[in-house]
């Protein structure tokens, strides 16, 4: 599925960008994780072609790369939503009812079974601890951290992102036309 996300033309345009990232680290030992991080930063996930590419450049076998990818939580083999919701379920958040927030997100965004919404706007990722325990319960959306949340507050925040995301999408499709 991951290969269908990028059109072939688009892929070619993007690969050189990845390439320069690759070469930046290529002569350093232990380069694999920074390479994967660079690839993920470029595409939002690590595609099969990226694995092949990194293998060719670094000389690390594809199987080993796959092993490293699946070991670390940061790496994704599928594309990410536009907004990544990191829902903290650390101790303090857990005690302060993080479970309820998860239900709110799932309900508000209509997520069930999958971690990414159908429109590709949101990905929900529960995380162990964001380290803002005294503001529990906490949710991080992209780089913004929201603390002392109640279900109502969270719903308002999510709706704001929804609006923003849908507006941006419609602008893009108009431009495309």
């Amino acid at each position: 599925m991951e290969n269908t996300i990028l059109e072939p033309r688009e892929k070619e345009e993007r690969l050189p960008r990845l390439n320069s990232e690759l070469w930046k680290y290529c002569d350093q030992p232990g380069q694999l994780i920074p390479l994967l991080q660079a690839a993920q930063e470029t595409y939002g996930y690590i595609s099969e072609s990226a694995i092949k590419h990194i293998s060719a450049v670094s000389g690390v076998p594809e199987s080993e790369i796959y092993g490293v990818i699946t070991f670390y939580k940061q790496f994704r083999l599928r594309p990410l939503g536009k907004y990544l919701i990191r829902l903290c379920d650390g101790t303090a958040c857990h005690v302060n009812n993080a479970k309820m927030l998860k239900a709110v997100v799932e309900d508000e965004l209509g997520l069930s079974g999958s971690d990414t919404t159908e429109d590709g706007l949101f990905t929900l990722a529960p995380v162990a601890c964001l380290g803002c325990c005294s503001l529990a319960p906490v949710v991080m959306i992209n780089d913004m951290t929201y603390g002392r949340l109640t279900p109502q507050k969270l719903r308002t925040i999510l709706r704001k992102y929804k609006k923003e995301g849908q507006a941006a999408d419609s602008v893009q499709s108009e431009e495309a036309e």
Partner: protein, 589 residues
């Protein structure tokens, strides 16, 4: 000149510090040009009062808490321009008096000495507070062995959890032959409930760099690596800035006159694996491999990164080092207990009135931290237990609140000092559920290399899940104990060996709660969703029908303006009715 300082560590920003800063910045530009300076600082530790704003003028330093953009505007108009502090909003005056004075009184700040007092993005601020004086002193006046002796005599022990004497680690690495050695700073702070390393990195990154340089000199290393969690973007940004400033100012990547010492530091971002806090796993991760631990010995001091002698210390440990060098080992060793010297930073969270970072002298009791410094339990509830040491630690019951903060004393309770997370629980926290939560965490994070951790923790988790769902069976407790002790003695690394601690300690101190779940199918804390009944109080119910309308399974019946009733056979215990009732009429039984 008047200075306004806003706390912009991650905790401040998530409480809205960005907006406060924006408001103040436009006000300063508009009305305060030339007479008001706006600055940023890291974490003061008073997370419960974020956003924090300090106004410093001729009358002293005034700290305001819970600042919103509107309050910021008032502070600017009335205090900064008008010269009249808003008395009712000032929480501390000169960090000595005020409604929050209790929070600071019993603290002793060594590792956090600069946090909240310097602009972390300014090397000049750090230099003004004796920054880089320690490395200078070391290079000018101390031999490598003298330095190691100094750290040894100070009694500093690793603050990452295990408490191994720092000087000893350095000596082992120093004794290894070869000129290629490494210093690693373990900033992969992954324990849920611990955030002191993040606060130090965000609030005072230079002290960590300086600590690493001193360690580098001690063991003869020229390269340092900071392995930092990718979940701490702000810490990484500030570290990068600090490294580039320290390089530009000639501290890093620069051979010191009269010596052949120069030191280089780079940052490696973690990729999200809790086990990488374990030192051999961390090294594997830096080398670009799966972060699975390997058996020790050989210890990293003998064979570490790229097979070379390596020391790995925690962020807080490094932050202590420059202070010890400047103030001498006697000053450090005069604080604390016979075997645990100096101070320890704790992240106090959970059901506590003043949650935040506290740095206390070793030897203080748990009760003193909870009541004297942190103001007791939220909503006047009863203190039940405190969880120390994260998922590797254990629960210490309120009855043992006199336990002193000391590596050995805490280990005796079955918990561990750990990295310093302290999660406070009140009577409404279910200890079985707590144990299940921690085990779920470790089970999730188990790297899968050794069987007892991979499968043992899963079996334990399955049992605990059954118990909190009311499907516990007689004999479950015995199996948990047996499995727990077996995992403890057979797992390969620290993660596995300590994984069962939360279960074993709660079984030791709260066995009756397990028994109530298993035999009576009741949760004494009224917390386990499937074991409570939702009941409508006829005294309070007004018959507004809101609960009945919101019940997803139509378990609530009743006529308008008459008491409603929940059919327990139909109820799925989702709890929605409690959240929608406007009259507090529904309670858990």
């Amino acid at each position: 000149m008047i200075t306004i300082t806003v706390g912009t560590a991650t905790c401040g920003v998530s409480a809205g510090a960005d907006k406060v800063l924006e408001t103040l910045s436009s006000l300063v530009q508009e009305k305060g040009q030339g007479k008001v300076v706006l600055a940023e600082t890291g974490c003061m530790g008073m997370c419960y009062k974020e956003v924090l704003v300090e106004v410093s003028n001729g009358d002293g330093k005034f700290l305001y808490g819970d600042v919103t953009p509107d309050i910021a505007k008032r502070i600017f108009e009335e205090h900064v321009l008008g010269g009249r502090p808003i008395e009712e909003l000032v929480i501390l005056h000169n960090y000595q008096e005020g409604p929050e004075e209790g929070y600071l009184k019993r603290q002793r700040r060594i590792a956090l000495r600069n946090c909240g007092f310097v602009d972390p993005m300014s090397i000049d601020d750090y230099l003004a507070r004796d920054g880089y004086k320690a490395i200078e002193k070391v290079l000018k006046t101390m031999s490598q062995d003298e330095l190691i002796e100094e750290i040894l005599s100070s009694g500093l022990r690793g603050r990452g959890g295990a408490g191994f004497p720092t000087g000893m680690k350095w000596r082992f690495a120093r004794q290894q032959p070869g000129s290629e050695k490494y210093v690693i700073c373990n900033a992969d702070e992954g324990d849920p409930g611990a955030f002191m390393d993040r606060s130090i990195l965000e609030g005072d990154p230079h002290s960590v760099l300086e600590g690493m340089m001193i360690a580098g000199y001690a063991i003869g290393a020229r390269n340092g690596v900071i392995y930092c969690r990718a979940e701490y973007p702000k810490a990484i940004v500030r570290l990068r800035q600090a490294i580039s400033d320290a390089t530009a100012a000639g501290w890093l990547d620069h051979t010191f006159p009269g010596t052949d010492f120069s030191f280089h530091i780079k940052i490696k971002e973690g990729a999200g694996a809790f086990v990488c806090g374990e030192e051999t796993a961390l090294i594997a991760s830096i080398e670009g491999r799966r972060g699975t631990p390997r058996p020790r010995p050989p210890y990293p001091a003998v064979r570490g990164l790229w097979g070379k002698p390596t020391i790995i210390n925690n962020v807080e440990t490094f932050a202590n080092v420059p202070w010890i060098v400047l103030n001498g080992h006697e000053a450090f060793a005069s604080v604390g207990t016979p075997k645990s010297k100096g101070t320890k930073v704790f992240a106090v969270t959970g059901k506590i009135n003043r949650g935040g970072l506290v740095e206390v002298p070793m030897g203080i009791s748990i009760n003193e931290i909870i009541y004297d410094i942190c103001g007791g339990i939220k909503d006047n509830k009863k203190f039940k237990a405190v969880q120390m040491g994260g998922p590797s630690g254990g629960c210490i019951p309120a009855s043992m609140g006199d336990t002193k903060i000391d590596y050995e004393e805490i280990t005796q309770t079955g918990a561990i000092m750990g990295s310093g997370g302290m999660v406070v629980m009140d009577e409404s926290t279910c200890m079985v559920e707590m144990a299940r939560f921690f085990l779920e965490f470790t089970q999730n994070e188990s790297c899968g290399k050794c069987t007892s951790c991979r499968i043992g923790t899963l079996r334990m988790l399955e049992i605990l899940e059954r118990i909190v769902e009311g499907k516990g069976e007689a004999g479950d407790i015995d199996v948990l104990l047996e499995l727990g002790n077996q995992i403890k003695s057979t797992a390969q690394c620290g993660l596995g060996q300590t994984a069962a601690n939360p279960v074993l300690t709660t079984l030791k101190y709260f066995r009756e709660e397990y028994e109530a779940h298993i035999h009576n199918k009741k949760c004494p804390a009224h917390s386990c969703a499937l074991l409570v009944n939702y009941v409508i109080d006829p005294e309070k119910c007004t018959g507004c029908t809101v609960c009945a309308k919101n019940c997803p399974v139509n378990a609530i019946s009743g006529e308008r303006k008459k008491t409603h009733f929940i059919d327990q056979a139909v109820c799925i215990k989702c709890g929605k009715c409690i959240t929608v009732c406007n009259f507090d009429a529904i309670y858990k039984d």
